[in-house]
């Protein structure tokens, strides 16, 4: 058994905190609290990106997910709901079945992950990672097509969410 490095300790702590806050996101009844726990979750994921030497992704995670999306959720909740407290039951009579499935799934995946000797993957990009990332996204021999498809997907999501959110005309 090798000695546990500092990075591993940080990872374990952060990972546990991330899972715990995620659990709180879906269990607390106050919507604002849920949104704030979501901020904590997203921050935990940003730390994991840092541990993976993906500084740019960590920045994006904080600026976009925490700075924009989570804050937007908070605003949306505050502006649209007069009642911040969610009412009604949080689970139905099948909750135990869901728990069993989730537990089995968790057990299976973690047993699997423990049992494998993972191959060493190519190391992180040396040098300016942002430059390499930016280039790879517009390079026809790398990721330009997925990049463009992602933009089609985002436009569909944008149009779709506007369509679903707009109040309908009376004629229909």
């Amino acid at each position: 058994m090798e000695a546990v490095s500092a990075a591993q300790i940080i990872f374990i702590v952060v990972a546990l905190l991330t899972v715990a806050t995620t659990f709180l996101v879906v269990t607390v009844r106050n919507l604002i609290h849920a949104a704030l726990w979501l901020v904590a979750t997203l921050f935990g994921i940003a730390v994991i990106f840092v541990l993976l030497d993906a500084g740019f992704m960590a920045t994006v995670q904080i600026v976009l997910y925490i700075g924009a999306i989570a804050i937007l959720i908070v605003f949306a909740v505050m502006l649209t709901r007069r009642v911040m407290q969610d009412v009604g039951p949080q689970s139905n009579e099948n909750w135990w079945l869901g728990t069993i499935v989730a537990a089995v799934f968790f057990a299976a995946i973690s047993t699997l992950l423990w049992s494998i000797r993972w191959p060493a993957l190519p190391g992180a990009v040396v040098g300016d990672t942002v430059l390499a990332l930016g280039r790879s996204l517009v390079d026809p021999n790398q990721y330009v097509i997925p990049f463009e498809v992602a933009s089609v997907m985002l436009i569909i999501a944008l149009i779709g969410s506007i369509t679903l959110a707009l109040p309908g005309k009376q004629s229909e």
Binding site: A108, I109, L112, S115, I116, W118, P119, L121, P122, R135, S136, D139, P140, N141, Q142, Y143, V144, I145, P146, V149, A150, V152, M153, I155, I156, A157, I159, G160, S161, I162, T163, L164, G168, E172
Partner: protein, 481 residues
């Protein structure tokens, strides 16, 4: 990291997708510019545009079997056939939408359909799991919006939400599988993944686990047992043209992913094959048995489409050139036939007769031609010669027999008999039951009669002259083995 080895021809290969995106932009612009009483042009333009794109694709985008765009997409014949099928289904869906209340005059509705078609095309083209996942999500998000499009109707809203929740959960599970694949091979390209697997350095448990996890995502898309629970509710609640689209094109796109991931990528078939064989048998049987009890035509077609996914899977598990060719041919037939069936359903529910099978009573006397279209579609779904569905099933069972899966072919034949029964029950209502008092002829706008004529001719053509189409599918299958 340069564009030195970029071939302009690669742009021609994705010409259909580029054109679809442009067409979506045109539709959105027309939506703003057109006067309210001319909005019908939106759907017609979408349909005509799609058919023009098919013609352009046949002329300019013939596949060469190479991996292009940095290995992201595979420009081969399988992808080509699937893409033509998707664009055709998108065009027909637009045509079948032009007089449906709630969706007909909405530019964004047609634009989202076109976006979904783009996603499906890339699902068929994908040769890399990053590309694959993005394409699956593109199709998925468009599908969720379409299913919930008439969100002031609580049933459509429920359909959209249900589709979304199931889709999000299953694609998250699939992402687990894909990241496992990347974790143990260090590759994202499916061909490269296959060569790592061939080296034998990867343990059984990992391959099996990732195959199962990916199968959850794909199984949702193609609605096989046990990932079929969403299908009847979503099919019933979604606007009917969308139901037709989801049950044909989206399902076919799922099979394209199945072929890509499981034949090109996870080549170690001995581990996951038994699971797929069992699922094929279960899917056919459960789909058909549940269809027997349905009173609502959309739910009946939902369960029947589950069963049809089972038949297509029977051919797939033969894992041979013949098997893949039979899958592709079966899906071509299924898309055309099911779109025709949904076309009739749209017209009948437009006329106010509702979606219950009882509402079809005496349709042959009210609208003989429409009843004829329904007869052709349902007999083809049932697999009666000389219609396309017969040859579809014939090739499927032949492929299974040849691969030594005689019992599976037998289960399939038994299921075809169950299927025949409930399709004939509907046809009996249409042809034998007396019409309700004062029932008028069902109004068939010209766009719909055009679509139904194309589809019916297609069903007869794929049946009476099946072999050139099957040869085409076979040449595609030979390209991927």
């Amino acid at each position: 990291m340069s564009i030195a080895n970029f071939h302009p021809n690669d742009l021609l290969a994705i010409l259909p997708e580029l054109a679809l995106v442009v067409l979506a932009g045109v539709i959105m612009t027309m939506d703003i510019v057109l006067a309210e009483n001319r909005k019908r042009l939106l759907g017609l333009t979408t349909a005509v545009g799609s058919f023009v794109i098919i013609a352009a694709a046949v002329i300019f985008s013939q596949p060469n079997g190479e991996l292009i765009w940095g290995g992201m997409i595979s420009n081969d014949m399988v992808a080509f056939i699937f893409r033509l099928v998707f664009i055709f289904a998108g065009g027909i869906t637009a045509l079948l939408s032009v007089d449906v209340k709630g969706v007909a005059h909405k530019g964004d509705y047609y634009a989202i359909i076109l976006g979904a078609v783009v996603g499906m095309c890339f699902m068929a083209l994908a040769a890399d799991i990053i590309m694959l996942y993005l394409a699956v999500e593109t199709t998925g998000i468009a599908g969720y919006v379409l299913a919930g499009y008439v969100h002031r109707s609580s049933r459509s809203a429920e359909a959209g939400l249900k589709y979304f929740l199931f889709g999000a959960a299953t694609s998250a599970v699939m992402l687990y599988g894909l990241s496992l694949v990347y974790g143990f091979t260090g590759e994202t390209n499916l061909t490269a993944i296959a060569s790592v697997l061939a080296s034998g350095k990867v343990g059984i448990s990992v391959i099996l686990a990732s195959a199962i996890l990916i199968l959850v995502g794909v199984g949702f898309k193609i609605a096989i047992v046990p990932f079929h629970f969403w299908a009847p509710d979503v099919y019933e609640g979604a606007p009917t043209p969308v139901t037709g689209f989801i049950s044909t094109a989206a399902k076919t796109a799922g099979f394209a992913v199945l072929i890509r991931v499981f034949i090109t990528g996870l080549t170690a078939s001995e581990y996951w094959l038994p699971i797929l064989v069992a699922l094929a048998a279960l899917t056919m049987t459960i789909g058909n048995l549940l269809a027997l009890a349905q009173k609502n035509i959309k739910r009946l077609l939902a369960y029947s489409s589950i069963a049809h996914a089972g038949y297509a899977l029977v051919a797939f598990v033969a894992l041979s050139e013949l098997g893949v060719a039979a899958t592709v041919f079966y899906l071509m037939v299924y898309v055309i036939t099911n779109l025709a069936a949904f076309g009739v359903v749209i017209l009948v529910s437009r006329s106010g007769a509702g979606e219950e099978i009882a509402g079809y009573a005496g349709m042959s006397r009210r609208s003989p031609y429409l009843a004829l279209a329904m007869l052709v579609a349902f007999l083809s779904l049932a697999g009666m010669p000389p219609l396309a569905g017969f040859f579809g099933k014939f090739y499927v069972f032949a492929a299974a027999m040849k691969a030594g899966l005689v019992w599976l072919a037998l289960v399939g034949v038994l299921n075809a008999i169950i299927g025949l029964y409930y399709y004939l029950v509907v046809l009996k209502v249409v042809y034998v039951s007396p019409p309700q008092e004062g029932a008028l002829a069902i109004e068939v706008p010209r766009a719909y009669s055009f679509a139904l004529v194309i589809l019916s001719v297609g069903i007869v053509l794929l049946g009476t002259a099946a072999s050139p189409w099957f040869e085409w599918a076979l040449s595609a299958a030979q390209g991927i083995f």
